[in-house]
């Protein structure tokens, strides 16, 4: 029997359950978000794009994933 362990994190203000041990790049892939077009803040610190792969997410993390939209 396989066991899935989840952790709770907050993404853009919404509570989400994701697989334990998921990396930031793994999360973006899961959400179908292109890493090259977004900026990510984790617990108020900006995560450099080249560290997305090395960033392991943890229970209780608060993520903001932002991009550019039309504006004046």
């Amino acid at each position: 029997m396989r066991f899935f362990i989840f952790m709770k994190i907050k993404i853009n203000g919404e509570e989400k359950q994701i697989a334990d041990g998921l990396s930031l790049i793994g999360l973006l892939e899961f959400l179908q978000i292109r890493p090259g077009r977004v900026v990510v803040e984790r617990n108020r610190d900006i995560v450099p794009r080249d560290s997305f792969g090395a960033t392991a997410l943890a229970e209780g993390d608060v993520l903001e994933i932002v991009h550019f939209v039309g504006g004046g």
């Binding site: 932002v66 550019f68 504006g71 004046g72």
Partner: protein, 257 residues
């Protein structure tokens, strides 16, 4: 005649800066911006919709190699949020230039001047090229220039109002004292408003709603390009003084009697 406008060491031929909000879709955004001739375009920083991440991104339509992308801090009501937004924008890799706007209230969208000054100090210290949106107040413009902002951007009228320049005398005072480019930002309604700003000697005009919310945004983008160009040329050409009485255009000699 080569006429350039310099910002943070870079030369721009177009003096029209355009926003990318309120368009029907990205295709229309792209067409209007192409026609406007703008080389600098503003964008906003917002959360990605994670339940339905849009596969298309604004930057797929606006090549950052072709355009200088100018992220704004629209929607920020305090200095901390504005600084945070600028840091996020810089991480996107489109440069260090930001349009700083710290909004005072959502009815007028007038800037919160003390908060704008606070944010500008932090951002300049962190190496940002700061273009602040401000009221048409010469004292604030001077303070922001002293802080090290790369330009000052007084409003013509409230954002999206289309009223044109409400206080040309204040803009004139700002222009007389500023050593950085003065860009009229917000409140322009039609091409003549843009021309007026340029005739006064402003370095440029920034607008969004006047183009994007026109019945035909692409045609208005062209009108705005021409308005800005006409106003600039008229400024360089040097207009005649205004006089109360007539001066005949035809010679007075040789009139039949």
């Amino acid at each position: 005649m080569e006429d350039f406008f310099e910002l943070a060491g870079r030369k721009y031929r177009s003096r029209l800066i355009v926003g990318t909000g309120k368009y029907k879709d990205f295709a229309e955004t792209k067409r209007a911006i192409e026609v406007s001739g703008a080389e600098i375009v503003t964008v906003a920083v917002r959360r990605v919709n994670i339940t339905d991440p849009n596969k298309e991104n604004l930057l797929d339509y606006l090549d950052p190699k072709r355009y200088t992308i100018l992220p704004n801090t629209a929607g920020c009501y305090n200095a901390d949020d504005a600084v945070r937004t600028c840091r996020l924008a810089r991480e996107a890799g489109v440069g260090k230039m930001v349009k700083l706007e710290v909004i005072g209230d959502d009815r007028t969208l007038f800037p919160d001047v003390p908060a704008t000054l606070d944010a500008a100090k932090i951002l300049v210290k962190e190496g940002f090229v700061v273009l602040p949106y401000i009221t048409d107040d010469p004292i604030t413009a001077q303070k922001l220039e002293d802080i090290g902002c790369a330009a000052v951007m007084p409003l013509a009228a409230p954002i999206g109002s289309g009223l044109g320049i409400r206080n040309p005398y204040n803009i004139r005072i700002i222009l007389e004292h500023a050593k950085v480019p003065v860009i009229v930002d917000a409140g322009v309604g039609t091409a003549s408003d843009a021309a007026v700003a340029m005739e006064m000697g402003c370095a440029g005009v920034l607008m969004n709603t006047a183009i994007a919310s026109a019945k035909d945004p692409v045609l208005m983008a062209e009108a705005m390009r021409q308005g800005v160009e006409a106003g600039r040329k008229a400024y360089l050409a040097g207009r005649i003084p205004k006089k109360l009485y007539a001066t005949a255009s035809s010679p007075l000699d040789g009139i039949l009697n």
